[in-house]
């Protein structure tokens, strides 16, 4: 079953339009919820006034004073309030202050506009540099949400002896996940000790994050909080941490009113207030010897985290750990900081810090090649990691890694060398269309960073049902990536069953164990491996208890499960993640094995830029990756194509325009994601090299495709237009024109 293009488990319902999303749910007597937001970036909340003309007595009104437990969103750092209380500090312009609920949506919208906040304004910090300069201290003592140093060797001893020292600065912008289904929650609660119960249904990636947040908000034990993840219309990280906030808000309104409350954001609200990709600035200083081999690397990596920590510490960590890309360098110093600004918190987005730092490094490699008069292909080849080499954290590469082979395959596929020659000749003519071809080489660490997986110790299981079929028990959610199908394939493979005998259980914290969040390219590799183990456990158990004998047919297995179920009532098998003894990581020094393994990739892009309008068209795209073993080739190719499309959008068009910390292009009309007319055919190549850490040899692929497109595109722009200052994404036509004029004049 592993390796087969099994049909999506939930595909039929989606195609027929019968899938039930959160906004499709109805509950008897449910109210609609709305959120009143701060509107100014920084200040002290002095009062809340309810304006005239609204029947306020009909409304459910929740403020910070109504919170039964702790007014802090449970996260890595408990710094973010669910609601700002009177006398407390407002730290960004979309901060929730008052919650309203009513049965009439139209009246609710009028009421939201009639709430006036009395605020004593304070000077705000709205950009990264102001935060680093400490123009105002808005977070802790130094505005830093997290700071990391990674050290290897002695870079300072090298600069003076190097043949070439090359510096560069690179920037990336915020990016919106733009899932089709905006954030949505339905809360149903019952008050009264000792049987109080808080239940939420919603669009969320990480049921146990929401579970933890609600426990703390209501001060309730595990079994009195229940989270059910419904079908999701996409997430991409955007439903990793923010759902804790919305679930809390819906539950507070329900708790106070005694009625179910549905809180559904429209597109405009979702875009202004929910998390986006961290904007970044990376400064790189590199030393090479005369041959072009790395001698030293110094990287200063800074992320704009927004007003609260949310996921910033771990986004920063992943970004820092990917900042040296796929190269071996004996002397490294990485200094990484996430700084606070008075803007809505940044958060998780496919890639999780890696696209930012990899953009900088893979762009810098082409800049260095140009400055040293070298071929970017050969410069990379000289410095690739290979078996036995160590990364910046001292992790020894254990796999028989052949990045040169991967790169050559991609260059051949796109016709790199022929096209470079042909384009050079073409670009010398007076045709305003200039053409370029280039690439990037990169990796993505699979699973949680460092000791994350060991600390979390996730659990997943399988259950034999009365009808003889097998159910997958895991809190991993389906957001369109294919979890339902891939998990079923993994279990079917382990049990030698057809895939239609295995299904995934509803993701309900009352029934499924905590298999961890659905993030970090960990679901197939980490949770899938637990399921493989659990499935073997189920089989062994059936054999030991005499229900099953090997070899068996699927029919015999089915009968065995039916019999066992009839006799024992319930048959479940669980597996828990245990740290592998050879994986060593030290959080304090940032030394050791940062990830159990990496997926490796090389992406090449061919572009045409019109020097009349500076519009860029991507003409061809080749995406080749080594991802262990592919569980489902159709779903995997879909993941890659989608990630590449998001990467192209981030590289060329997707620009969050802000004013006073508020996103002002918060509509799909003005926040420009690519349409099919803007995208090339994306040619996906998988090179398989099974890895023991994953089920059937599979590694993670979810985030990988987001990392490579942006640097490949800007490198191709350099190939087309010459060495412009191509230091930023998105490289919109407006920015490209400015940079073109810097070199060629107005």
């Amino acid at each position: 079953m592993i390796g087969a293009p099994a049909i999506r488990k939930e595909g039929r319902a989606k195609v027929l339009g019968s899938t039930c999303y959160t906004d499709d749910m109805s509950a008897e007597g449910a109210l609609h919820g709305a959120t009143v937001r701060s509107q100014i970036p920084r200040g002290i909340l002095k009062g809340i006034h309810f304006g005239e003309g609204i029947p306020w007595n009909e409304f459910v009104i929740v403020t910070a004073a109504d919170i039964p437990g702790k007014n802090r969103v449970a996260s890595i750092v408990h710094d973010q309030p669910f609601l700002v209380g009177i006398g407390e500090e407002i730290t960004h312009p979309e901060q929730p202050v008052v919650l309203l609920a009513h049965g009439d949506r139209q009246l609710l919208v009028k009421a939201r506009k009639a709430v006036r906040l009395e605020v004593e304004e304070l000077p705000a910090v709205l950009d990264l540099q102001s935060s680093l300069d400490l123009t105002q201290v808005i977070y802790g003592t130094n505005n830093l949400l997290k700071e990391i140093h990674i050290r290897k060797g002695e870079p300072d001893s090298v600069w003076s002896q190097a043949a070439h020292v090359i510096e560069g600065e690179y920037r990336t912008g915020a990016q919106e996940q733009m899932y089709l289904e905006p954030n949505a929650m339905l809360a149903v609660t019952e008050r009264g000790d000792p049987n109080a119960q808080v239940t939420v249904y919603g669009s969320l990636q990480c049921p146990y994050y929401v579970h933890g947040a609600l426990k703390q908000l209501f001060d309730l034990p595990d079994d009195q909080v229940r989270v059910i993840a419904l079908e999701m219309g996409g997430a991409f990280g955007g439903k990793e941490d923010y759902p804790s906030v919305i679930a809390g808000h819906a539950a507070l309104l329900s708790w106070k009113s005694g009625k179910p409350v549905k809180l559904v954001y429209d597109r405009e609200e979702d875009l202004v207030c929910t998390t986006k990709r961290h904007p970044s600035r990376t400064r790189i200083k590199t030393a090479f010897d005369t041959e072009g081999k790395f001698l030293a690397l110094e990287i200063d990596f800074v992320l704009d985290g927004g007003a609260y920590a949310t996921m910033s510490p771990v986004v920063l960590s992943r970004g820092a750990l990917h900042s040296t890309s796929v190269y071996c360098c004996p002397n490294v110093h990485i200094h990484a900081r996430a700084a606070a600004t008075n803007t809505p918190p940044s958060g998780a987005f496919r890639g999780f810090g890696a696209p930012q730092s990899l953009f900088a490094m893979e762009r810098h490699m082409d800049v260095c090649a140009t400055q040293m008069g070298m071929d970017p292909v050969e410069l990379r080849r000289k410095n690739f990691l290979k078996i036995g080499d160590s990364t910046a954290t001292g992790q020894i590469i254990q796999e028989n890694l052949d990045l040169g082979g991967l790169m050559d395959r991609v260059l051949k596929e796109i016709g790199y060398h022929d096209k470079q020659k042909a384009f050079a000749a073409h670009n010398a003519t007076d045709d305003p269309i200039k053409r370029g071809v280039a690439f990037s080489v990169f990796m993505h660490g699979c699973g949680f960073t460092g000791s994350g997986e060991a600390t979390m110790a996730s659990v997943a299981g399988v259950e034999g049902l009365a009808d003889g079929s097998v159910s997958v028990l895991a809190a991993s959610t389906e957001m369109g990536q294919g979890k339902n199908t891939v998990f079923s394939q993994i279990v079917a493979e382990a049990l030698k069953l057809p895939v239609d005998m295995v299904n995934t259980a509803i993701v309900d914290t009352k029934y499924v164990p905590n298999s961890g969040p659905t993030v970090g390219s960990r679901t197939t590799m980490i949770v899938g491996k637990l399921l493989e183990d659990a499935a073997y456990g189920l089989k062994q158990s059936l054999i030991q208890h005499g229900f099953l004998k090997e070899p068996y047919s699927p029919e015999a297995f089915k009968e065995a499960v039916q019999k066992a179920h009839a006799r024992l009532g319930s048959i479940k098998s669980y597996a828990q993640f245990h740290k592998q003894p050879h994986i060593v990581w030290d959080d304090a020094s940032y030394r050791g094995d940062a990830y159990p393994t990496f997926s490796w990739a090389c992406y090449a892009a061919e572009i045409a830029v019109d020097t009349v309008t500076f519009e860029v068209k991507v003409e061809d795209f080749v995406a080749a990756q080594e991802v262990g073993r592919v569980v489902n080739p159709v779903l995997a190719a879909g993941q890659i194509e989608g990630g590449v499309a998001q990467g192209i959008g981030w590289g060329l068009w997707e620009d969050v325009v802000s004013n006073q910390g508020r996103m002002v292009n918060n509509q799909m009309t003005n926040y420009i994601i690519p349409t099919s007319a803007d995208l090339p055919r994306i040619r996906v190549i998988f090179l398989e090299n099974p890895h023991p850490a994953g089920p059937g040899g599979a590694k993670g692929i979810g985030e990988l495709p987001m990392d490579g497109p942006a640097p490949a595109l800007l490198n191709a722009l350099q190939n087309a237009l010459g060495p412009l200052r191509l230091d930023e994404v998105p490289m919109t036509p407006e920015r490209l024109l400015t940079r073109y004029e810097e070199v060629y004049g107005g």
Partner: protein, 290 residues
């Protein structure tokens, strides 16, 4: 959930006469609503102050494309799809076909109308530059009667039109170009489809004895209104094709435009790229074989 559900009143008159009577009775109270493709976006975002709408969809008098030997006449409710599907439009006004094809998505083209595109008075609308380049006239109607206005004089300032509160736009009348003509249309949008323009330039030239005998350029998104490029046109008019003063025209264009920085682009980009698109158009004109 909708962003904003304001209270609103929608009247649906059964005929043009009834619509004009309502407009006259309650002067200045109604906002005409044709395809609604722009109004509904604003309404949804809570950005539309008007609370009373006059839905024109049942006014059959405002529909249909009529052809005479000298003109094509479009009812104000002619949709972009009807423009795209009409053979005579392809034959005489290729720029109009291109601009209709580049407006919104197919669903928008099915609903959106030529009249709405004009009377919504967005400087970024896609068909007005083509209409300007073709020397269009618009016919306005009220209970007082009808009158015709040159389209280039119709837009008087940002969202200001030569349209009385009791008047509706009835027809759009375009003369068929005579003799040897050159057509050019380029929309520079925020992406390749479903985009709003950052710069739009349409041109139509009549060539006589190897010189430019008649020439109009229509511009979008570079001024408060869809505008003619009269200064650039004047530089080119009467010049032989093989010696068009392109750089001089590009310089003259700066007096025709007043671009701004906004959410979609910058004034600088609009200024430079409209000059470059003008240059591209003039090079194509000079190389065209007549």
């Amino acid at each position: 959930m909708r962003s904003y559900l304001p209270d609103f009143d929608l009247q649906v008159p059964d005929s043009l006469g009834e619509a004009l009577a309502l407009l006259t009775q309650e002067l200045g109270q109604y906002r005409p609503f044709a395809g609604g493709t722009d109004l509904m976006v604003l309404l949804n975002a809570g950005l539309l102050p008007a609370a009373r709408f006059l839905d024109l969809s049942r006014c059959q008098e405002l529909r249909g494309i009529q052809e005479t030997s000298t003109h094509l006449s479009f009812g104000a409710l002619t949709t972009f799809t009807e423009v795209r599907d009409c053979k005579a439009v392809h034959q005489h006004f290729p720029n109009l076909v291109k601009s209709a094809r580049l407006t919104g998505a197919l669903a928008i083209q099915n609903r959106g109308t030529l009249g709405g595109n004009i009377a919504n008075a967005s400087p970024a609308a896609d068909t007005p530059p083509s209409l300007l380049a073709y020397g269009t006239e618009v016919e306005l109607i009220s209970l007082r009667g009808t009158r015709r206005v040159a389209y280039e004089a119709f837009h008087q300032g940002y969202k200001k039109m030569d349209l009385a509160p009791d008047e509706l736009l009835q027809r759009i009348i375009i003369p068929k170009p005579l003799g040897r003509t050159f057509h050019f249309y380029r929309k520079v949008g925020t992406r390749q489809a479903q985009a709003i323009s950052k710069i739009c330039l349409a041109a139509c030239a009549r060539i006589e004895n190897g010189t430019v005998a008649e020439f109009r350029i229509g511009l979008g998104s570079v001024a408060p209104v869809p505008a003619r490029a009269r200064n650039a046109e004047a530089v080119i008019l009467g010049k032989p094709l093989e010696a068009l003063p392109i750089e001089e025209a590009q310089l003259a264009l700066l007096a025709d435009i007043s671009p701004i920085d906004d959410i979609r682009s910058s004034a600088h980009y609009r200024r430079v790229v409209s000059q470059k698109v003008l240059g591209q158009m003039l090079r194509e004109l000079s190389q065209s074989s007549f």
